[in-house]
C-alpha cells in the first residue's frame, strides 16, 4: 500500500514537473518576467514577487515597494522601470486610483545597488469615471517611444505615452481609449503590428474563475485594435489566446518574453491550480505565431513520441539492424477469402536481443513504427530546467537507453540513463510550433549549453545523419516535430 502511495505521489510530482513551474510559484497578477544579472524576476499584487535562477524553479523573495495591485516591469538601458497602482479595482470601495512608476538599477534585493526611486504618478482615475486606473502594462515601440496601457472592466482601457528617460508621463500626452471590458492589458509589437492582449472573464474566483486572455491587433499603437473577425476591442472584440487548462483555471496577466529569434514565451497566472490546493500560480507557456496571430503552445508532456526532422521528415532512431516483421507481404493479386484480422506490430522484445549492449549511435530514417524509432520523453524531477520547462530525458521506449550528447558534438545512446548533464535535454517549442532540442551539456565543451542564441542543439547534418550544431531558427535542420504514438 505504501509503495502504491509512493508511486502515486511520484506520478503527481512527475505531472507537476511537466506542466507547472516548481518550487513556490505562488503569485497573482504577475508582471512580465524580467531577467536581471542571470536571474528571472516577476512581481505580483502585494509587495512581493518571485525569483528564479533557471526560469523553472521559483521561490518568493523579489521585493517591490508600494504594495497594492498588478505591477509591470520593463528594462530600459541599464535600469528597470517598475509600474504599479496605488488602489482602484474597487479595492478602496471605488475606482479612485493612481498609476505610478519608479526606477531601480537592479531587481536583485541583495545587491548594494538595489533602491527604488520615489514613485511618480503617470495616470489616474476618478472614483466614478469610465476607467479604473490599475493593471499597468508597458510597451516600448520600435522607434523608442514608451507607452503604458491600464484599466479594468470598469470602463475603458487607456493608453498614455511616457518619457523613457524619466518614466514619467510625457508632457502633453493625453489618455486615449483603446478597449472596453478588459483587465490586465499588455501590448507587444511584432512585424508591423501592435498586439493588445487583454484578460476577459471572471477574476478572483478560484477554480471557477473564467479569466482568459484575448488579443486584437493594430498598425498603430493607439489602435484601433481589431480581432480576427474585424471587431474593435472598443466593441468587445478579442481573439482567444489562452483559457483554462485541464487542471488550471483563470488564465490572466499576459507577459511576453523573447529569448532569441524563434523562441518566445508568455508568462501568466492561473488563478487556481488543482495540483496545488487551488492556489494562484505562475505559468509560462510557449508563444506561437500563426498567420500573424499569437497562439499558446502546449507544455510538453511526458509520453511516447516519434522525433521527426523538419529537414526531411525522417525519424530519429537507434543505429541497429532493421528487423523484418511477419507476416511479410500478403499477395494482393490473389483473392483473400478469410476475414481480415488485426496483426500485432513488432515489439521491443522481438528485437532488443539483437541490439548491442553498450553505446549505440543514432541516425535518421523513414518512420516504420519499429521499437528502435520510439522514444519516451520524461521530465527529470530535481534536475532543474530553463525558462518555462524542466530538463527531460529521452529514452528508447521500454528501456533505460538514453540519448546523450557525446564529445565532438556527436550523439549516442547510453545503455542506462544516469542523470548526467549530457543526458538531460532542453526541449522548447518554437514560434512556428516545431521544437528545438538542446543537451544541457556537451562533453568537451566548456560550461552548460544554456544560452538561447548560439546554443548547440540537435540538428540534421544530412537527411539521415543527426548531430549537434548551433541553433538557427531559419533552418529546418534545427527543427523537430514531436508526435505522440
Amino acid at each position: 500500500m505504501k509503495k502504491i502511495l509512493s508511486i502515486a505521489v511520484f506520478l503527481v510530482l512527475a505531472g507537476l514537473n511537466a506542466l507547472a513551474q516548481v518550487g513556490e510559484p505562488y503569485i497573482h497578477d504577475p508582471s512580465t518576467i524580467t531577467e536581471c544579472d542571470g536571474k528571472y524576476y516577476t512581481f505580483g499584487t502585494g509587495a512581493g514577487g518571485l525569483i528564479s535562477a533557471d526560469g523553472w524553479v521559483w521561490e518568493s523573495g523579489a521585493v517591490r515597494h508600494g504594495g497594492c495591485a498588478a505591477p509591470d516591469v520593463i528594462k530600459i538601458g541599464d535600469r528597470y522601470l517598475v509600474g504599479y497602482t496605488t488602489s482602484g479595482g474597487g479595492l478602496g470601495g471605488n475606482h479612485d486610483s493612481r498609476v505610478v512608476t519608479m526606477w531601480n538599477r537592479t531587481l536583485d534585493p541583495t545587491s548594494p545597488d538595489f533602491a527604488y526611486t520615489e514613485p511618480v504618478e503617470v495616470a489616474r482615475s476618478e472614483p466614478d469615471e469610465d476607467c479604473d486606473a490599475i493593471d499597468i502594462g508597458f510597451i516600448m515601440t520600435p522607434d523608442g517611444r514608451l507607452f503604458c496601457t491600464y484599466g479594468t472592466y470598469f470602463g475603458n482601457i487607456r493608453i498614455i505615452e511616457l518619457d523613457p528617460a524619466t518614466g514619467g508621463r510625457l508632457p502633453g500626452s493625453r489618455p486615449a481609449d483603446i478597449a472596453i471590458d478588459c483587465e490586465a492589458t499588455k501590448m507587444i509589437y511584432r512585424d508591423g503590428w501592435y498586439y493588445l492582449m487583454g484578460t476577459h472573464g471572471t477574476c478572483c474566483d478560484g477554480v471557477n474563475s473564467t479569466y482568459n486572455i484575448v488579443v486584437g491587433r493594430s498598425r498603430c499603437v493607439t489602435g484601433p485594435f481589431l480581432d480576427n473577425m474585424g471587431r474593435d476591442m472598443l466593441r468587445g472584440g478579442g481573439r482567444m489566446l489562452i483559457a483554462a487548462e485541464e487542471r488550471r483555471f483563470g488564465a490572466g496577466h499576459f507577459g511576453q518574453i523573447i529569448e532569441c529569434e524563434g523562441v518566445e514565451k508568455m508568462s501568466l497566472h492561473f488563478e487556481s491550480d488543482l495540483d496545488r490546493s487551488g492556489r494562484s500560480v505562475l505559468a509560462i507557456r510557449p508563444l506561437l505565431w500563426r498567420d500573424g496571430w499569437p497562439e499558446a503552445g502546449e507544455p510538453l508532456q511526458d509520453g511516447n513520441y516519434k522525433i521527426l526532422s523538419r529537414r526531411r521528415g525522417y525519424a530519429l532512431e537507434l543505429t541497429v539492424d532493421f528487423v523484418r516483421s511477419d507476416p511479410g507481404m500478403m499477395p494482393f493479386w490473389i483473392r483473400q477469402d478469410e476475414p481480415a484480422v488485426a496483426l500485432g506490430a513488432q515489439k521491443l522484445e522481438d528485437v532488443i536481443g539483437g541490439w548491442p549492449s553498450g553505446e549505440i549511435p543514432v541516425r535518421l530514417s523513414d518512420y516504420m513504427a519499429r521499437p528502435h524509432q520510439k522514444w519516451t520523453i520524461e521530465a527529470v524531477p530535481g534536475a532543474g530546467g530553463y525558462l518555462g520547462g524542466p530538463y527531460f530525458r529521452i529514452v528508447t521506449e521500454g528501456t533505460g537507453r538514453a540519448l546523450a550528447a557525446a564529445p565532438g558534438a556527436r550523439l549516442e545512446t547510453v545503455p542506462e540513463f544516469t542523470g548526467a548533464d549530457r543526458e538531460l535535454w532542453r526541449i522548447e517549442q518554437l514560434v512556428d510550433g516545431t521544437y528545438r532540442i538542446l543537451p544541457k551539456e556537451i562533453p568537451g565543451q566548456a560550461g552548460n549549453n544554456d544560452a538561447c542564441a548560439g546554443a548547440m542543439c540537435l540538428i540534421s547534418v544530412a537527411d539521415s545523419t543527426p548531430g549537434l550544431g548551433v541553433f538557427d531558427f531559419n533552418s529546418d535542420n534545427c527543427k523537430w516535430d514531436l508526435k505522440r504514438h
Binding site: A176, G201, T202, G236
Partner: protein, 227 residues
C-alpha cells in the same frame, strides 16, 4: 529612402486609422444617451438599434455575476415585474409601474451600445445588483425574412422577438458585439416588438443589438419607435 517612405506610409496610415477616442472623465447621461427625438429613428450605419424604452433598474442584489446560470436568469426574468411584460403594446414614455413607481424612459443611445450603467447612475438610486428591462419596436415596410438578432450584454440577458424567446445569454458576461445570435427569423411587415432583460451584480452594465442578414450584412431597412 525606402525606409523613409515606409515610415511616412505608416504615419499616414495611423493618422488615417486613428479616429482617436480620447478619454473623457465626464459621466453625464447626455454623453451616452438622450431622450428619444420626435419621429422614428433609424439603425446606425452598422445596424445597431439605438432607440429603446428603458425601465428604471429593479433592485436584485447579487454580490457576484457568477450566479447567472441559465436556470437562474430564466427563473428570474420569468417573474412578472410590470403589467404588459413581453406584450405587444409598450408602456408609454414617462409612465410608471404601478406598484414600484419605477419609470419608463424613451432614450436614443449616442453610442452603438446602450450604457445601462450610466443610465442608472444618472437616473436611479441603484446601479449595482439590478435588473434592466428594455423594449423597442422595429417597423418594416416589407417582410424581412432570414435574419438573425445578434446581441451582446454585460452581464446576463434574455431577448424576445414578437413574444418568442430569441436569445439567452448566461454567465458573467462582458458585452461583446455580436456575441450571440438567434435562430433565423422573419421580421414581419409592420411592427416587430423586441424585449430585453439584463441582470448585473457588480460592475458596469450595457448591451448592443442588431439584425444581420444571411450574408452577414447589417439590416437597416426599418425604422425604430417605442410606441
Amino acid at each position: 529612402m525606402k525606409r523613409l517612405t515606409l515610415i511616412l506610409a505608416a504615419v499616414l496610415l495611423c493618422a488615417g486609422l486613428s479616429a482617436q477616442s480620447w478619454s473623457d472623465s465626464s459621466t453625464d447621461l447626455h454623453k451616452y444617451m438622450v431622450p428619444a427625438a420626435p419621429g422614428a429613428a433609424s439603425p446606425d450605419r452598422d445596424g445597431f438599434i439605438g432607440r429603446w424604452l428603458l425601465l428604471d433598474p429593479i433592485s436584485k442584489p447579487n454580490r457576484t455575476n457568477t450566479v447567472f446560470t441559465d436556470s437562474y436568469i430564466r427563473e428570474t426574468f420569468g417573474q412578472t415585474y410590470f403589467k404588459g411584460q413581453l406584450g405587444d403594446v409598450l408602456p408609454k414614455d414617462g409612465s410608471k409601474v404601478k406598484k414600484t413607481k419605477l419609470r419608463w424612459h424613451a432614450m436614443d443611445s449616442k453610442l452603438f451600445n446602450v450604457k445601462l450603467f450610466r443610465f442608472a447612475t444618472n437616473l436611479a438610486p441603484e446601479h449595482y445588483g439590478v435588473i434592466f428591462w428594455a423594449a423597442t419596436v422595429i417597423n418594416c415596410e416589407e417582410e424581412i425574412p432570414d435574419v438573425r438578432l445578434f446581441a451582446g450584454s454585460n452581464s446576463a440577458s434574455m431577448w424576445w422577438v414578437n413574444g418568442e424567446e430569441a436569445l439567452i445569454m448566461s454567465g458573467d458576461r462582458r458585452m461583446v458585439m455580436d456575441d450571440c445570435a438567434s435562430e433565423r427569423l422573419t421580421l414581419r411587415k409592420g411592427r416587430n416588438v423586441i424585449w430585453c432583460a439584463v441582470i448585473n451584480g457588480p460592475g458596469m452594465s450595457d448591451f448592443c443589438a442588431r439584425f444581420l442578414d444571411r450574408g452577414g450584412n447589417p439590416v437597416r431597412n426599418f425604422t425604430i419607435t417605442v410606441q
